[in-house]
């Protein structure tokens, strides 16, 4: 097979790669993530992919036209607070805005759980500037230009800043002081990296704007050096195509653009999975899906409605409440490595602590003594101890039993019985996350299809579906490296956002249209520079709206064109509909005025990509059958002999009733007695679950 596109997802434990050929067929490989030297892990995973496809690495890379990488470098830099020495200019009187934040309080009754915000910019690196603009955009105090130059001179010479963020009050409304500051500094300090709030994120609420601007400066060199290293290593290994980086909003970004707006790379790995699921769902004719990704340390859930992933606009990065938009992923701390424990009441709990890669679950036999979710699955017989990772590793069942007995023994019963009970808690935990993204956002889960991927999802997905009334489950092909395959589907994306406070009932149309036109112009020009023609650019306009007096916005997607008179009423109607859908019948404040708060323009550069490859026939049930084994069934509370099948040999479209187990090299799917499974035409599996 000749690989055309390569997707890479650098996760906390594993670096996954997926290669795709012109006909849409895919191959995956995995290598351990190499902390501190991520490119090493990437190169190892690529070698693995070359081996699997039976070619030399140089050949693989020479054929590939494009490599898309979901990276955690930005996420890690923020988590570890490793970044540039960043200075900050603010309006006089407001040097403590970052420190005050939205109050550092975390919502718990425990005073001992509170801590100050991490210090992004030390006090000595913040300069207050005499200038002021008011809420109507009027200049109250003119910009003191001499002060700007002398303060920045001091920060550069005495404090040694390497990057500078500028965020004045009301600059999104009247950017003149920030623009002038940029102009002055560009002349005097041409080498200083500048991050200017009215350009980067011209949206009301100075804390979010300031923290977004400062973080952007803080991580600016991390991305730069990462991209350079990746480029160099790939070229010397024979790659001459284009590198793209995954974006938090689900698209991709060219390295040059990523260096300017590095925050757009935040959390792009998990987002890849959602985009990949949407692509397969599209091919299957499904538009409302719920994605469930269970990896080593967490369970990530998100919702795709009518083909669009839910998006949040105030992404929290570590503890910083930024203004960045991101595909909305809800995370609960229960993955395969999460530890099962008893609290002081004797009540069972799962996570958030994880056994990590070292020592790992007790059954890995690397010295782990705490029972984990994986140990529970092993003891129940869900995982074949001799076929873990395709037989590369064998599991120590005795160690798992001992861990369960020693830490959870007071629950009473054999390790299997305790394991069966713990699996109820595991499923309950995951159900809460699923409820959060469906029911709590006004979406009845019963009409959704769940896409379950990540190493451990197949073990619990059917039980979760039954718990919440979902009857259709898909475990896609290459489930264990699925987020990497999502990178393949990511189009280059540009987003522009701006506060536009406007009333659909009485505001001037020109106010909105001017803003839309400018944002559209910027986004399209940027993509055109990358070689996308007009017909290859797809636009989306999103209005964040609210009832006057509210503090939360609801997104309404509108036609990507200027507004006309007739749109006023339609816009209010659309907003009412969306609001009612989210918060339930009767929640709409019928007679209240509606306000637009923020307008967003999203531009996608679309290029035709191969559709997912179909497998029309082949496989044979008898040939797929492997030795059956005894599994302790949580629903039957008993050990039952169940059939086991080898995933890749199952025939297409033939339903196999549960209870049974379907195994692949790195994925195990458990089919309970109330479900049946069949292999689908895209190489994945579909389950039908009785409610």
């Amino acid at each position: 097979m000749q690989t055309e596109l390569i997707g890479i997802d650098v996760g906390g434990t594993f670096t996954d790669v997926v290669g795709m050929a012109a006909d849409g067929s895919v191959v995956g490989a995995k290598a351990s993530t190499t902390p501190g030297a991520h490119v090493d892990g990437i190169m190892n995973a690529l070698s693995g992919l070359a081996e699997t496809t039976g070619v030399e690495l140089s050949e693989l890379l020479a054929d590939a036209g494009q490599i898309a990488v979901g990276t955690t470098v930005v996420t890690n830099a923020i988590a570890e607070m490793r970044g540039r020495r960043t200075g900050l200019l603010v309006t006089k009187g407001f040097r403590d805005t970052l420190r005050i934040a939205r109050s550092p309080r975390v919502p718990t009754v425990d005073p001992f759980a509170q801590s100050a915000m991490p210090e992004l910019v030390p006090r000595a690196l913040i300069a207050e500037i005499d200038e002021r603009i008011d809420a109507e955009g009027d200049v109250v105090v003119a910009l003191d230009e001499d002060q700007v130059l002398s303060e920045v001179g001091r920060l550069v010479e005495e404090e040694g800043i390497e990057a500078l963020a500028v965020c004045y009050l009301w600059s999104f409304l009247n950017p003149s002081h920030e623009s002038r500051t940029k102009e002055l500094l560009g002349r005097e300090f041409p080498d200083l990296f500048l991050s200017v709030s009215s350009e980067l994120y011209p949206v009301v609420r100075e804390y979010e704007r300031m923290v977004t601007t400062a973080l952007n400066a803080f991580v600016s060199d991390v991305v730069g050096s990462y991209v350079e290293e990746l480029d160099a290593r790939l070229s010397s290994a024979g790659f001459s195509g284009r590198v793209y980086l995954g974006q938090s909003l689900g698209g991709s970004l060219e390295p040059e653009e990523a260096k300017r707006r590095p925050l757009h790379l935040f959390n792009s790995g998990p987002v890849g999975g959602v985009i990949g699921a949407r692509r397969i769902a599209d091919a299957m004719g499904l538009s409302n899906i719920l994605t469930a990704d269970m990896g080593g340390t967490s369970f990530d859930v998100s919702l795709v409605r009518e083909g669009r992933p839910d998006v949040i606009h105030r992404t929290v990065m570590e503890r910083f409440e930024t203004g960045m938009s991101q595909v909305d992923i809800t995370v609960v701390g229960s993955g395969g490595g999460s530890i099962c424990w008893l609290d002081e009441r004797g009540a069972p709990r799962i996570g958030p602590h994880s056994a990590g890669a070292v020592p790992g679950p007790a059954c890995y036999g690397r010295g782990g003594v705490e029972p984990t979710v994986t140990d529970v699955a092993a003891v129940l017989g869900l995982i074949d101890p001799d076929y873990f990772l395709g037989g590369k590793m064998s599991l120590d069942l005795e160690a798992a039993r001992e861990a369960i007995d020693s830490r959870l023994g007071s629950l009473g019963g054999s390790p299997e019985e305790i394991g069966a009970q713990m699996s109820r808690i595991i499923v309950s935990n995951m159900l809460q996350a699923v409820r959060q993204v469906s029911v709590q956002r006004g979406r009845d889960p019963r009409g959704l299809t769940m896409f379950a991927y990540g190493g451990a999802s197949g073990l619990f997905a059917a039980q979760i579906c039954r718990g919440i009334g979902i009857s259709h489950l898909v475990v896609p092909n290459l489930a264990a490296v699925f987020s990497a395959s999502g990178m393949l589907a990511a189009d280059p994306i540009r987003t522009e956002a701006r506060t536009v406070q406007w009333s659909p009932q009485s505001g001037e149309l020109a106010t909105v249209n001017t803003a839309l036109c400018e944002m559209r112009g910027q986004a399209v020009a940027n993509l055109a520079d990358r070689g996308f023609g007009e017909d290859e650019i797809e636009l989306e306009y999103v209005f964040a709206m609210r009832f006057a007096g509210q503090t939360f916005d609801v997104d309404v997607t509108v036609e990507p064109r200027p507004l006309v008179e007739e749109d006023r009423e339609a816009l209010v109607r659309l907003f009412h509909e969306r609001y009612g859908e989210l918060y339930g019948a009767g929640s709409v404040w019928e007679d209240f005025p509606v306000q637009l708060m923020t307008a967003r323009v999203i531009a996608r550069g679309t290029r035709t990509k191969p559709a997912p490859a179909r497998i029309e026939a082949g496989g044979d049930l008898a040939a797929a059958r492997r030795a059956g084994r005894s599994v302790y069934m949580p629903d039957l509370e008993d050990r039952v002999e169940v059939d086991c099948f080898e995933a890749v040999r199952l025939p297409i479209g033939v339903a196999v009733p549960g209870p049974c187990i379907v195994e692949d090299i790195d994925t195990t799917i458990f089919i309970p007695s109330y479900a049946e499974i069949s292999r689908d035409t895209f190489g994945g599996f579909e389950m039908r679950i009785e409610s």
């Binding site: 804390y207 509210q550 929640s587």
Partner: protein, 705 residues
């Protein structure tokens, strides 16, 4: 009543508990997303509670923990008033009267519904939002200058707002006629929406488990929690402890300090009994605390100190009792006493008193977990200035200045209090942006920043708070109202730490410069401030006046002389304390080029300890690691720093603490800790130290004799 939990399946118990928690969370999400006003969405002043048929809590979600009290008192009053008449499964009740139902104050409107399963009433669902208005003489529901409850707006006993599934439009109309903004009605709908969500979900769960089984596991979870709390209380020495605080009432040009007496009995059978008997006579308006406010102020103290790691349910009430004291007092007022600010005044001071008494009780515990959980309080005293301005267009704008979401937190046994951490008993308040505030109302902020030295000095400092300055902007008339707990009596520190700063509002006349000139910064305003009463309904503002607010800071934990010099170096670098305070309070000595002289600091600290002992030579402290002085050594209470035996109570045989008294406002102001000076009395700091080494053991606030 409670089933015995001898035989139960711990997994089912936890599955049921998780389901109950998920329901209240889902209700909270519903309220937050559909409510239209910042008190609910930013200050997060709402609560959702699932209650048993008798009102006891099954699960709680919300942010103002004071509502743990009124969900219980409210349900009891609904049962008492409506129990005889037939309750329909589709009824929804509404009420807010603090006297009858225990609501914290009138604008906290409760909306509550029964849950029937197969014809049997099995549970209640309770919601509460701090509404934008409830009528009365001042917008916002706080009526600082009302002389009685009749000036404070609409009072509702439990009545049906939804009668057998049909909204009672007459009730809605009645409310609409009595409030200043229709948002109140929107928020009531938001509460009804949350109730519908909660009821449907609860019935699903009851269906799944069966009603009897469900009830049994509710009882099991209560018992598990009560047992755990009992074990923790058992680690506190039984005995009686007492603390005193004061409600500050200064409306109508007067100034009274009404004592709140809190006695805590730790019983031999591991219960905590808080008793407010003996507290002062109720005041003529606003500040008196309803039963719900007092009850609800004790619970957060117990939860924060002893049960921070578990979901709360009625099991707590098996271990905690609260007596509100004699009728006619601030802790148990009778009509027509005003109560609209009762939870912020009496409630918050009852909270401080309960905390102080509990910290006394835990001081002599031998249990390491209990000892490690000692802490000082921080942001308890709240103040809300309201600036009204008539815009040039003619309409009035109102700025409810909500910066108190950034009050400092108190120092802890394990470290410093967090600056800007927020109100202690309100766990998820969010600080609004300057642009949000200026966009909503005609004001212009001059600054909003950290106030150095405002946190209480201590081995672990109290977190600093904010100082803000703002002016009416683009208006032709403006006035100011203030609802504040008062700025005279600070929150005491713990284990020898000092109180942190208090809160007040003052006006600087004509302080705005000529148009176009740079705006002034802190310390550069030259006019003398005019104080504004803590309870003030109307204060005329000039168009160039500047309003300055100082917000409550956290109090300190442990003797400041135990604060490591490295920590002080960090404080100085980050601008959190001044060099003067570092020298004066912490005994820090600088070398000639401004660096820290560690050796000179150590001997200066020794001198300061000697001064506390009237010049006697203090015992050596070999290990100055910050910690509480009293500790058990070989079964006897001793100073952990120098080893001499100590006596904390009356019966112990150890050495008496050396006690010194200082005028409170003078001592704290000198160190930059902001407090106001009372006109009609004076307060003291009663500082007790170890007779051996002079290390501070406790600092109490007392009224001068």
């Amino acid at each position: 009543m409670a089933a015995t939990a001898t035989a139960h399946d711990p997994i089912t118990a936890e599955v049921v508990n998780m389901a109950m928690q998920a329901i209240v969370l889902e209700m909270g999400v519903t309220i937050e997303r559909t409510s239209g006003q910042p008190a609910a969405t930013d200050a997060k002043d709402y609560s959702c509670v699932l209650c048993k048929d008798d009102g006891g809590s099954i699960a709680y979600y919300g942010n103002n923990l004071q509502h743990l009290g009124d969900s219980l008192t409210g349900t009891e009053s609904v049962i008492a008033t409506c129990g005889d008449e037939s309750i329909d499964p589709d009824d929804v009740f509404i009420y807010n009267d603090p006297f009858m139902t225990g609501s914290l104050h009138q604008c906290d409107i409760a909306v509550q519904a029964p849950v029937f399963h197969q014809g049997e009433l099995v549970a209640w669902i309770f919601t509460n939002i701090h509404h934008a208005d409830i009528g009365g003489m001042t917008p916002s529901g706080f009526c600082p200058e009302s002389r009685d409850v009749y000036g404070e707006g609409l009072r509702m006993p439990p009545i049906k707002v939804v009668d057998a599934g049909v909204v009672n439009e007459s009730v809605m109309a009645l409310i609409e006629m009595n409030v200043r903004t229709p948002i109140v009605l929107g928020d009531i709908r938001s509460q009804i929406a949350a109730i519908n969500v909660g009821r449907a979900r609860l019935l699903e769960v009851i269906e799944e488990h069966g009603a009897e089984e469900w009830k049994r596991y509710i009882a099991v979870n209560e018992e598990l929690l009560a047992r755990l709390l009992g074990e923790r209380i058992a680690a506190i020495p039984p005995g009686r402890y007492h603390s005193r605080d004061w409600v500050e009432y200064d409306a109508f040009g007067g100034e009274t300090y009404v004592p709140i007496e809190c006695s805590l009995e730790v019983t031999e059978d591991a219960r905590l009994v808080f008793d407010y008997s003996g507290s002062g006579v109720q005041v003529p308006g606003y500040s008196n605390g309803s039963r719900g406010a007092v009850l609800g102020s004790v619970m957060p103290v117990v939860l924060a100190a002893l049960l921070p790691d578990h979901d709360v349910n009625a099991g707590v009430y098996d271990r905690v009792e609260v007596e509100v004291g004699e009728p006619g007092t601030v802790t148990n007022p009778t009509p027509p006493a005003g109560v609209s600010g009762g939870h912020m005044d009496t409630g918050a001071r009852a909270f401080r008193a309960a905390h102080a008494a509990l910290m006394q009780a835990t001081a002599s515990s031998e249990d390491e977990w209990i000892r490690r959980r000692s802490y000082a309080l921080g942001g308890v005293s709240v103040g809300v200035p309201v600036v009204s301005g008539r815009r040039l267009s003619g309409d009035w704008g109102y700025a409810f200045v909500l910066d108190q979401q950034s009050l400092g937190h108190g120092g802890l046994a394990t470290g410093d209090g967090v600056a800007f951490g927020g109100i202690d008993y309100s766990i998820a308040g969010r600080q609004p942006d300057v642009e949000t505030a200026e966009g909503a109302a005609p004001i212009l902020y001059l600054w909003r920043r950290e106030m150095p030295d405002s946190g209480g000095p201590g081995a672990h400092r109290g977190g600093n708070s904010l100082e803000t300055a703002l002016a009416p902007w683009k208006v032709d008339r403006a006035e100011l109202a203030v609802s504040s707990a008062g700025g005279v009596v600070p929150t005491p520190g713990a284990r020898g730490g000092y109180p942190g700063g208090t809160t007040w509002v003052e006006v600087l006349r004509d302080a705005l410069p000529e148009p176009g000139d740079p705006l002034p910064g802190p310390g550069s305003l030259r006019t003398a401030p005019v104080p504004v009463a803590a309870k003030c309904a109307s204060f005329e503002l000039g168009l160039r006046d500047v309003i300055r607010q100082v917000l409550t800071a956290g109090s300190g934990w442990g003797d400041p002389l135990l604060r490591p010099v490295e920590a002080l170096a960090r404080d100085l670098a980050s601008g959190s304390i001044s060099a003067a305070a570092a020298a004066d309070v912490y005994g820090l000595v600088f070398d000639p080029d401004g660096g820290i002289d560690a050796a000179a600091t150590a001997s200066r600290r020794r001198e300061l300890r000697s001064a506390r002992l009237s010049g006697a030579e203090p015992n050596e402290i070999e290990d100055p690691t910050p910690r509480a002085a009293p500790a058990y050594r070989d079964g006897a209470l001793a100073c952990d720093l120098c080893g001499v035996t100590l006596s904390l109570g009356d019966d112990d045989a150890g050495g008496e603490l050396v006690v010194d008294r200082h005028r409170l406002d003078e001592r704290l102001s000198r160190w930059g800790v902001p407090v106001q000076t009372p006109r009609s009395t004076s307060f003291e700091l009663v500082e007790s130290c170890c007779p051996g080494c002079g290390t501070l053991v406790s600092i109490e606030v007392a009224q001068a004799r």
